[in-house]
Amino acid sequence: MNLALRDIRHHQSRFIQTCLGLGLLLGVVMSMGGIYRGLFTDATAILNSTAADLWVVQQDTTGPFAATSRIPEDIKFRIRAVPGVEQASALSFQNIQSERNGTPFRFFLVGYELGGLGGPPAIVAGRPIGQKHYEIVVDRAMKIALGEQLRLAGDDYTVVGHTAKMVSSAGDPVAYVTLADAQKIQFKDDNNAIRNSREKLADQLARLPILSRSQADQLTPQVAEIVGSTHIANTVVARLAPGADLALAQERINRWNHFRPLTAKDQEHILTEGMIKKAKMQLGLFRAILLVISGVIISLIIYTMTLDKLRVIATLKLIGTRNRVIVGLILQQSLLMGMIAYAIGLTLIELTHDKFPRRVDLVAIDLQLLFGIVVLICIGASLVGIRKAMRVEPAEALGG
């Protein structure tokens, strides 16, 4: 006869309510773990989907995610010529915030070369971008239907496809356009700015003593074209051929002036140790505090349950019940409570994690580890009750 189960059966509703409360707490611990993992997954989503071996950025920067980086797009041709490089493509990244239906609307725009690296990893609805201009692929989280139009920098873009769970390191959904469109959105000035800039340029050229007025007039549009070029990228990513030496390719590019080749591992380090480190630490600490709180609550519950049973324990001792039966009564109840609460928490979080505004990654190893911790907490908590129970004298059963 299992005394723990008999006691639970007798106090069913109290036990279930306790488990439910504890389950909610453990659900929060699980969600914290999931958000913690989600931060990492989000931070590296674009990095991983690009699957590049090298990220060439502006010298002395940690771009393109952690810092601003601007490099000429045509450096990609030079990178393609580096021994071992199989493919190289320019990419542009920018955060865009606008208003849609009266609410702030924020996303991360990636510009990529059609057929190159860094485009949408998988289209879950619609199709990939098929023409050079005015088509956009958005993440489902942006809630823009296929065929809808999105106005960016004065042009309308038609949504042709959807991706899923593609977010930036800040958690904003990602949208994709061609590199040419992205460059135009990011770098091209509006008409007034262009007019002002040209007038200023013409004025400066006219003041040069080595140029006549007509030479200055002829040079102005060409110089304006050069300085107003939008053939700029934030990074050029490269994928190496199988078996190629990454260190060698990196070293070769590193010798060039003005560029910094970062490996995918470097980028991951920048993203996870720099950009999200504090957020991760915050979440980790919060999770640890919640676990300690859970431990204290379980200990208090088990201790109170033991106090409620002191006379029963004294009677059991008096009628010769072995200590292991009494220990089993307390320990099994504690473990059952922990396991049921864990199951409630897990069910809750499994049902709701998709509804969270940011990614909640429920990783099996984290959940298994938490289960182990809960079991240890329950064992630890029951030790307090067991210690109390072992000190109960059988004589206490004889009192009136």
């Binding site: 005394l3 059966r9 008096l318 009628i319 004589a395 059963a397 004889l398």
Partner: protein, 230 residues
């Protein structure tokens, strides 16, 4: 062989000025099947006697032999397994029944049997038989909170008897019962003492109940001041 033999049993609490002699030099024997009453006012040492025989209170001096086994000789022998002796040789009945509240009547009896290593099925069958013999067959699946005082006490008696112990120690078993139920319980104890060949020592204040006892010891200030045989 005696069920209980005590010789010079003494229990002293405290020392020096605070010394209290709760039990002084008690000596008597009880044979199997004998129903013995321990009478006396509060503080006379009767409960101390019971707890000392029941291996709950360690005696200061004297000897106790239970069913041929020496369980106290100027204190408990170091190698004595108190729980084993309580499990195998003793049954307890309390004034307040002390049934386990989260076990049904039948489970309250079963636990005593399972404590002695009996399997669940066999323990259940035997518990049902005992409860039926005490007229509780129809109440065996009830929790103690739903049993009347008399039913609870009979369940407690069933638990005490389940292992057929050589000695049953009862502390005021009729105190919480009305006269009719009290008489019924005493008659039951008398019957079971004979049937099971168990010695039953009953501590009581209740003079109404003494007529059914084989022997009556009266205690005062820790000493036996009177012994009567019926």
């Amino acid at each position: 062989m005696y069920a209980v033999q005590i010789e010079g049993l003494t229990k002293i609490y405290g020392s020096g000025d605070t010394k209290v002699v709760a039990l002084a030099d008690a000596t008597f024997d009880v044979t199997p099947g004998e129903l013995v009453a321990i009478l006396g006012p509060s503080g006379s040492g009767k409960t101390t006697l019971l707890t000392t025989i029941g291996l709950v209170t360690e005696p200061t001096r004297g000897k106790v032999v239970l069913d041929g086994e020496l369980i106290a000789d100027n204190g408990w022998p170091p190698s004595l397994d108190l729980k084993r002796v309580r499990r195998e040789k003793l049954g307890f009945i309390f004034q307040s029944h002390n049934l386990i509240p989260f076990l049904t009547a039948v489970e309250n009896v079963m636990i005593a049997l399972e404590n002695n290593g009996m399997g669940t099925k066999e323990a259940r069958a035997r518990s049902i038989t005992i409860l039926e013999s005490l007229g509780l067959g129809h109440r065996m699946d009830q929790y103690p909170a739903l049993l009347s005082g008399g039913e609870s006490q009979r369940t407690a008696i069933a638990r005490a008897l389940a292992n057929r112990p050589k000695v049953i120690l009862a502390d005021e078993p009729t105190a919480a019962l009305d006269t009719e139920n009290g008489r019924h319980v005493m008659a039951l104890l008398k019957k079971l003492a004979v049937e099971n060949n168990s010695a039953i020592l009953v501590v009581t204040h209740d003079q109404r109940m003494v007529e059914g006892f084989d022997r009556i010891f009266t205690f005062s200030d820790g000493r036996i001041v009177d012994e009567k045989r019926n």
